[in-house]
């Protein structure tokens, strides 16, 4: 359940940004989570609901944008989409894949009031 620790980081980033921008509150927090980023989205939503209390994001809605995992297939020499690590290339079946995207988790933006 490391999502709780991640949610606390989100709250911290949101709180810092909201304070720096003189916000009275935060209405929306938008995250971008890659499908390879080791995050269970339901756990993340639950954890954020718990940790947002007492912060400027207390009333905030959490929007999560999921991003496909992408990798470079060496035999095909082409980019492919994968849903988890250890998955074969959907074109040639090789495991010689280098992940190129969809492994990050970021706070993209917040809407403040």
């Amino acid at each position: 359940m490391h999502e709780m620790a991640l949610a606390e980081s989100v709250r911290e980033i949101v709180q810092e940004t909201a304070c720096a921008n003189g916000a009275r509150g935060v209405s929306t927090v938008r995250l971008e989570i890659g499908r390879l980023a080791q995050v269970e989205l339901d756990a993340m939503r639950f954890a954020f609901d718990v940790v947002k209390h007492g912060s400027l994001a207390e009333q905030a809605r959490l929007d999560i944008v999921e991003v496909d995992g992408t990798a470079w297939c060496m035999p095909c020499a082409t980019p492919v989409v994968i849903s988890q690590r250890g998955q074969a290339c959907p074109q040639c079946g090789s495991y010689q894949l280098q992940v190129t995207g969809g492994d990050r988790m970021r706070v993209m933006d917040i809407e403040i009031v």
Binding site: A20, G22, V113
Partner: protein, 319 residues
């Protein structure tokens, strides 16, 4: 562009050093450029106007203003959720590199034999390399006690409800443990094949320990951990005759997830394969060693610290 007032130099970055609007330079529509500070209280809306400057109501996301309705403002952040942990980890890594310490982050499920492996490793490295250990567990100091029985300095971190070690805990632990220059630091993470994969501690490598009693499909069930690790130690191989464990299949799964992963098969109990593991550590420690040792000064410093590291439990905030 500053999302607050529209000036060209302000940004919505969250770094503490640059997020303030305590002072900045900006250009107005009439062409005048100047610098100024403008303090305000948190919670107070951030409009600031100059008597002669233009009055904007169209800077919100809607681009216009509706009387009686406050405009929500979109503040771009685009910051990694783990950025704070990662920057602390980099700080740890730099501090370890400076003193030539080769740090390994040992990860596995509970019961894979990490502590027994560590005890055996420390005993076999005696006289060749100095090893210090940071132990991570939710509760108890059992593991650190076992390590200290070998004579090596060990510090127990109890994470409480936490399921992993993070870089801030290691920073605190390093300040207490103070590993000797040019030594080896083993960080035994909380037994968990999921969460510790996410958290960089500042180590040179993650080393995943998998015992043959766990099932050969673990690399596919928990791919992130095997992807994050540089080395797989397949432990308890002395038990293979009693088990239905397909070593080749297990290693194929691990390489499926991480084609570059190195593998050493060993048994901490019988000592089989330990030579390869010790040689791997010695190669890493050699590479990590300070390029230009500062001579007797560093040595004196090291001797002074030797023996005084007893280790106490660190109780970080549950995360």
């Amino acid at each position: 562009m500053c999302m607050t007032c529209g000036c060209s130099t302000g940004t919505a970055r969250v770094d503490k050093a640059s997020s303030g609007h305590d002072g900045h330079t900006h250009t107005h529509a009439d062409g005048t450029t100047h610098s100024h500070g403008h303090e305000h209280l948190a919670g107070h809306p951030h409009e600031h106007l100059h008597a002669t400057g233009p009055l904007h109501f169209g800077n919100g996301p809607a681009g216009n203003s509706v009387p009686g309705m406050s405009q929500a403002r979109l503040v771009q952040i685009e910051r990694d959720i783990l950025s704070k942990n990662d920057s602390l980890a980099q700080r740890n890594r730099a501090a370890l590199a400076e003193s030539g310490v080769f740090a390994l982050n040992l990860v596995s499920s509970p019961g894979s034999g990490k502590t027994t492996l560590l005890v055996r490793t420390i005993e076999l490295l005696a006289g060749r390399l100095t090893v210090a250990v940071i132990e991570g567990d939710q509760q108890t100091t059992f593991d650190a006690d076992r390590i200290r029985a070998t004579g090596a300095p060990a510090l127990q971190i109890n994470t409480g409800k936490g399921c992993h070690l993070d870089a801030a805990m290691i920073e605190t632990a390093l300040s207490r443990l103070q590993p000797l220059p040019d030594s080896v630091l083993m960080i035994e993470n909380v037994g968990n094949l999921v969460c510790p994969a996410c958290f960089d501690l500042g180590e040179a490598h993650k080393v995943v320990v998998l015992s043959v009693t766990e099932g050969e499909d673990k690399p596919l069930k928990y791919p992130d951990m095997f992807y994050a690790s540089s080395l797989l130690l397949l432990n308890k191989i002395d038990l293979l005759p009693h088990l239905q464990f397909d070593v080749e299949r297990c290693l194929a799964y691990a390489r499926q997830v991480n084609p570059g992963i190195e593998v050493i098969q060993l048994s901490a109990t019988t000592g089989a394969g330990m030579d390869a593991w010790l040689a791997w550590i010695e190669r890493g420690a050699q590479a990590a060693r300070r390029q230009q040792p500062t001579g007797h000064q560093a040595h004196a410093h090291a001797s002074q610290r030797q023996g005084q590291v007893q280790g106490q439990a660190v109780a970080p905030n549950p995360a």
